[in-house]
């Protein structure tokens, strides 16, 4: 136990100096067409830095595909393929199977190449859930990263099953008889954890080292891993483009999106929220999508956030 604590302390200290050690090379390069202040593009860039050269990426249809691969241009220095919306995971599993057998047969260099599949929340929690579940269940040596901006942003801000309660979207708009989206956000990390895969984590682009450490950890684990990365979307959330990083911090400080990991079933908080969590209103008020909410509705959401946070803490404290 003592040793474990020492390592944890070291890691904490390490994070103070680590920015200097972050990969200088860019694999998701400038010139792509993401909106100003796009949290997802920032997160993808951080992911590729953590992955380094030795990865193959399969990408679902969505913002990140559209903005990065407008023929004949590409923003990708990693080998990258897009096939369709629902199947980043199944394409990834096929790539993994292909590389595995070709390596075994000596037709490609004899070294491990990590397959990473990525999609937005729609491509992950909705239309891509079956393919993702299948790929995870089959135990491929791959990492899936969901970049969650909480609605179908590429098609124009329609609600997904990852849209938070109360958010106004173009298919769940706030109106005279509606407060916006009526459903609670689907808990993807728990669904993935239920697959019994070796590693599941949440991340935020506003905690770059935490995110990159998780990507690196997942890459080193042989088997299926899942990271759910919060990605602020100024266009869809009607937030200021310079508030992206702030939002990514507030969502953690309010306890709405805790940063934790589940390694071999063991829950661990990786970024401790403040002892006294900030009220969710601090987070909500910066975004146009929540502007219509009444104090009562905000209170209702706060109660749910508190309950969910406590549930998670129980799992964490168990270990």
């Amino acid at each position: 136990m003592k040793k474990a604590k020492q390592i944890k302390d070291l890691v904490t200290d390490f994070d103070l100096y680590a920015p200097k050690l972050v990969e200088k090379e860019e694999y998701f390069v400038s010139g792509h067409r993401a909106c100003q202040g796009c949290g997802e593009a920032l997160a993808v860039r951080l992911m590729t830095k953590a992955l380094g050269r030795n990865a193959v990426i399969t990408c679902a249809t969505g913002c990140m595909e559209i903005i990065s691969s407008n023929y004949p241009f590409t923003a990708w220095k990693n080998p990258w393929v897009h096939v369709a919306f629902p199947n980043a995971a199944s394409v990834g599993s096929g790539v993994e199977a292909g590389l595995k057998t070709l390596r075994r047969k000596g037709r490609i260099p004899d070294r491990r190449v990590k397959v990473v599949s990525m999609g937005g929340d729609g491509g992950t929690a909705d239309i891509g859930l079956q393919a993702l579940s299948g790929a995870m269940e089959r135990g491929h040596d791959m990492l899936y990263v969901c970049f969650d901006n909480e609605a179908y942003m590429n098609t124009g801000i329609q609600r997904s099953s990852a849209t938070p309660f109360g958010a106004s979207t173009t298919t769940a708009p706030a109106g005279k008889t509606s407060f916006g989206n009526r459903r609670w956000k689907k808990n993807m990390p728990e669904i993935m954890a239920a697959h019994g895969i070796p590693y599941v984590a949440t991340a935020s682009h506003s905690y770059p080292l935490d995110f990159m450490n998780k990507v690196k950890k997942a890459v080193n684990i042989e088997g299926p891993c899942y990271i759910h990365c919060y990605s602020a979307c100024p266009t869809g959330w009607r937030s200021a483009s310079n508030a992206t990083v702030k939002l990514g911090r507030l969502v953690v400080e309010t306890g709405m999106f805790p940063l934790y990991e589940i390694e071999d079933g063991i829950y661990k908080m990786t970024v401790d929220p403040p002892t006294k969590r900030r009220p969710i209103e601090d987070y909500l008020k910066l975004q146009g999508r929540f502007r219509h909410l009444t104090p009562d509705q905000i209170k209702y959401i706060q109660e749910r956030v508190d309950v969910e946070f406590d549930k998670l803490m129980k799992k964490i404290n168990k270990n």
């Binding site: 050269r53 030795n54 990865a55 193959v56 399969t58 595909e65 559209i66 691969s69 407008n70 023929y71 004949p72 590409t74 990708w76 220095k77 990693n78 080998p79 990258w80 393929v81 897009h82 096939v83 369709a84 629902p86 199947n87 199944s90 394409v91 990834g92 599993s93 096929g94 790539v95 993994e96 199977a97 292909g98 590389l99 595995k100 057998t101 070709l102 075994r104 047969k105 037709r107 490609i108 260099p109 190449v113 079956q130 393919a131 579940s133 299948g134 790929a135 269940e137 089959r138």
Partner: protein
């Protein structure tokens, strides 16, 4: 040395796939293609074939996975039919647009609804415009041969397109037939190792499956069409090589007793064998009738068709699917269009038979031939007839 075997055709199909030394197979169970997958998994499990056998959670993922495997540089295969084929529909035009030489065996089966697991061609006809090379086998031997040919055609540098082989569900897939199975050395000699054009590997990073706007989509579509049209040259070349090595000949449209024929029946798939029996019998009675067997559905063999019907008075096209509210039989619609510009084209009649596993017998073809023989003098009332409807 090829070996004379008696075997269920689906099992033989799996043996043929294994002889092609595939690297990855991804399959999802669907009757009547399932025996292909099952036997292939036996072969892999017994260590007779070094491949990854993926039991995916849907046909959509089966096609997605072999697309992924192919981008990695692997030789990849799947088998499906009917609902499964339609479930992977979204992925089929992507495979051809990405120019990935994957191969798919289709155990042809009627599509729902109502649910029906028996044979017709409704499934493959729905995928007609996906940009795949599409072959139709008439018996077990052709299934073995076409699967091996399919990889060679698909992977040829002048082609680089996916290929599907239609195998009539149950009528072929579950039939035990006498066939010749080539041995490994022969197949190795015929089919060189797969040399992919580009692969997904960090040693030489490439981006695949890019987004294309209105400035380039038309050009990409045209290049795909050209690739498919031009693939016929390679298909004919591969069939020539096949004949040279294995002695069995293949043509886009195979003729049977067409000398001096005034009436021709055109069929696809296993019913061609049934039709032969009818032709033999009618010829014995002195009726000038012959048979055309369409083996190559895509790219469509326009020149061969025009040549085959020269001087013929009536062409009866037999479809095993319906283009609802449209041309009647999808094959006949194609053929009418193909012959429209011909000065001396035959009268064309269209019969739709054998839907959802309804038996097709030699007697049916005899009836059709007799009815068709009247069409030269008097055009039929209907553009197509759904044959044998119980009223």
């Amino acid at each position: 040395m090829s070996k004379r075997i008696g075997m269920e055709v689906a099992i033989a199909a799996a043996e043929a796939v294994a002889l092609c030394r595939i690297d990855v197979a991804a399959v999802y169970p669907i009757t009547p293609s399932t025996h292909i997958a099952e036997h292939l998994s036996d072969i892999v499990s017994n260590g007779e074939l070094d491949a990854e056998f993926m039991t995916v959670e849907s046909e959509h993922s089966a096609m997605s996975a072999i697309i992924g495997a192919s981008t990695a540089g692997a030789r990849a295969f799947t088998a499906t039919g009917s609902q499964g084929l339609m479930y992977m529909h979204e992925m089929l035009p992507v495979a051809s647009a990405m120019r990935l030489p994957v191969v798919m065996a289709i155990g042809n089966r009627a599509v729902s609804g109502p649910l029906n697991i028996l044979n017709d061609h409704g499934d493959i006809m729905m995928e007609r415009d996906a940009g795949w090379i599409s072959l139709f086998a008439q018996n077990g031997q052709e299934v073995i041969d076409m699967i091996i040919q399919a990889f060679k055609i698909a992977e040829h540098r002048d082609v680089m397109l996916p290929v599907n082989v239609s195998i009539d569900g149950f009528i072929l897939t579950h039939m035990v037939e006498a066939m010749e199975m080539p041995d490994q050395e022969e197949v190795d000699r015929f089919l060189p190792p797969f040399k992919p054009f580009e692969t997904l590997h960090p040693d030489q990073p490439v981006s695949m499956g890019a987004f294309a706007g209105n400035d380039i989509y038309t050009e990409i579509s045209k290049s795909k069409d050209m690739a498919l049209v031009n693939s016929k040259k390679t298909i004919l070349q591969v069939w020539k090589e096949w004949k040279k090595q294995f002695g069995r000949s293949y043509e886009p449209i195979e003729s049977y007793k067409t000398d001096n024929a005034e009436i021709l029946i055109l069929t696809m798939g296993s019913m061609s064998e049934t039709a032969e029996i009818a032709i033999d019998s009618l010829r014995a009675k002195g009726m000038p009738v012959g048979l055309l067997k369409l083996k190559l559905w895509r790219p469509f063999p326009y020149d061969e068709l025009k040549k085959a019907v020269k001087g013929v008075k009536v062409l009866a096209v037999i479809d095993r699917a319906i283009s609802y509210g449209g041309s009647g039989g999808p094959v006949c619609g194609e053929i009418r269009s193909a012959l429209y510009d011909e000065r001396n084209r035959p009268a064309i009649v269209n019969y739709i038979i054998g839907l959802g596993g309804r038996d097709v017998t030699p007697e049916d073809f005899m009836m059709i031939a007799k009815a068709a023989s009247q069409a030269e003098k008097k055009a039929p009332k209907d553009r197509y007839v759904i044959y044998g409807v119980r009223e």
